[in-house]
Subunit: 429 residues, 2 copies
Amino acid sequence: MKNNNINEKTESRRGFLKNIAASVVAAGALTPAALSAKDDPAIIKETEWGTKLGWPVDKYPYGLPSPYEHNVVRRTHKLLSSGDFYASVAMCPIQDLNGIITPNGLFFARCHGGVANVNPNEYRLMIHGLVEKPLVLTLDELKRYPSESVIHFIECPANGSTEWRAPQFNTLQFLKGMMSQAEWTGVRLKHILKDVGIKKGAKWVLAEGSDNSHMGRTLPLEKMLDDAMLVWAQNGEALRPEQGYPVRLLVPGWEGNLNVKWLRRLEIGDKPWHAKEETSKYTMLTPSGKAIRFFWPMEVNSVITNPCPDKPWTDLKKGDIVEIEGLAWSGEGTIKGVDISFDGGKTWVEANLKGLVLPKAWTRFSYMYKWEGKPILLSSRAYDDAGYVQPTIDQEVKVMGVEAIYHRNAIVTWEVKANGEVNNVQIRS
Amino acid sequence: MKNNNINEKTESRRGFLKNIAASVVAAGALTPAALSAKDDPAIIKETEWGTKLGWPVDKYPYGLPSPYEHNVVRRTHKLLSSGDFYASVAMCPIQDLNGIITPNGLFFARCHGGVANVNPNEYRLMIHGLVEKPLVLTLDELKRYPSESVIHFIECPANGSTEWRAPQFNTLQFLKGMMSQAEWTGVRLKHILKDVGIKKGAKWVLAEGSDNSHMGRTLPLEKMLDDAMLVWAQNGEALRPEQGYPVRLLVPGWEGNLNVKWLRRLEIGDKPWHAKEETSKYTMLTPSGKAIRFFWPMEVNSVITNPCPDKPWTDLKKGDIVEIEGLAWSGEGTIKGVDISFDGGKTWVEANLKGLVLPKAWTRFSYMYKWEGKPILLSSRAYDDAGYVQPTIDQEVKVMGVEAIYHRNAIVTWEVKANGEVNNVQIRS
């Protein structure tokens, strides 16, 4: 549904500008401890690293994060596993991310039979079925096609799946960490499908992985001829093993599992395949008892990343100005705006979109805020250029019930206590 | 100088469109070995990774590249060291990169006293000198300012420095690997300088590192109030140690060494400091015997990355269509276009700019080409929206001589032999 509260938006824009002005002009609140010895460089104490040689630049041919960042890692949880971590998910620490790129080492990983270690020299991709001229491509042959680079998120449709009945996780990483974003490089599938020659009657494409789960998903030919890609690189380097090295399918904005990894086969046909993973999983049970299959785009969504349960405001002092920040995204288009509520959704003000605003991509939003040390219920609500607005929990449950598991995109609310602690809560009418 | 050969450009554009059409329509040249058993999935042989469990997703909380990519690493060279690798540079494998993001593990690293391992809890940044209210900031205090994320390259002014007299390196990595690009997150310095209150007469800022070289560079206040930033993140995560963890200065488009790492001090003054690194290094000797100091922006530049000596065309067959690809960049603005020559600069055709075209950022260019197995002299020439065009070697040497060491941006030429081998050559009139 569209947001139609125009007056509220106009007011909120004024509020935002006022807040920005406060942060930049009334610097008092931002200015930390002034120097006592005003102009004396000696106040910067000499350090161990300032007096001894560091390590030589040839120590790490492939670099790693600072040892002090050892807590910023992907995490697994038994609630999100099948007893072991071969068919499971490692969650991205989105509470620690900056900007819109996820470093490859932290990109969330979902596997159905463990991470395959594919030998690129033995890699083959077959394209067959309702085609004039079936193909088997080596990796080198695939890379000879004209390449493109695009920035898109990938989100598992189970992101937030634990929250349908009541809050389960009190960390952002476990709540919403089944997503990440990268710059992907590869070839538009339409170029290859042109080469094989699609036969009349073709409507569907089966994408199958070469890992031992042979994960298979059916996709409409229309999407494959639109913006789908075969990608071999993420953030400049070869795909990581857990992202499908050497080649995965990229279907921008659609369910993560459709972006089939370690891709070995594309079969063109006239009917959907009803493969294991699209009947046993990735269907949504509705209140009528019927299940929805083949529901692909990840709907408009958003979440506040500062503060969050993992990054509380316990260090803030009353009167401090702080930047509320978050991520918004939509698999159906470009983020048009994000609203923020301080009273659990009763009233809304408009946030600022920051940096690159790209289609089917994470978009950063921001709101400069003066913390008064009083409890608030902090929510965000995104809307996209396809006309969709994030629903309330009540709105979503009314349509989907609580058994759908997948595609939960209801508004997330953080309870920020007077002492700055943050909890995941659910606002119901 | 501006490119004024309009007719040539018009012709080249037609050539490009024709070539693109050739690649997509006349698929014969692109289409690799067709299947013999046309529609039989069994032709995809079962593999070890298709029949055994992979590794569990909790094996690498911080992920690493595929073991098969072990050759894609930063490299050092004794010609680019001072006898050891504490004051040296590790070159980025730009020949292996895709798109415009460099993964953090491959970002080039230049150090003057080794890589400092800074404890972020002990980190302090002092801002003092000609200011009303000097400041010492902790990392948490710095991060409380409103943040922005921007994509910019960083290039050492010594990139290509070995090539002034004659070709020295026959690999792209050693020739042009002193640069990389990331998405950086931090705060515009102007917000902080507003808080400290710049005094009348202030014109210069000294930026000093906390590593044991205490690398210091003077910058004009004007740039610091324009787009300079204090950044704490690259590609979403904390800065890497070799990029100045926890905080570096970012001066978009200017010499790499000005982007002072492990930043501990900004002093505002009325004169340049003439610090060690800006007198003993980073000055350019001209033919008159005078040295140029304080010459900051990295000029418009480009290089072809496919093919290159590290990635020859020895596997190509006559008639194959291949994508010539490269990187173009300018520290003075946005890349407006790139020309390609097949005869060492006598005639030029226009390449296609791909993906995001951002100011002071790497821009990818591309040209679809039919390889006829005949020797060519392949060059690229970029121009930016500030009105600059990459010079020929003769033009650059006429102005700068051969002792400048820094800021070499003359056109690079690859000799592609009939067998597909590629060599770094220099075209002189």
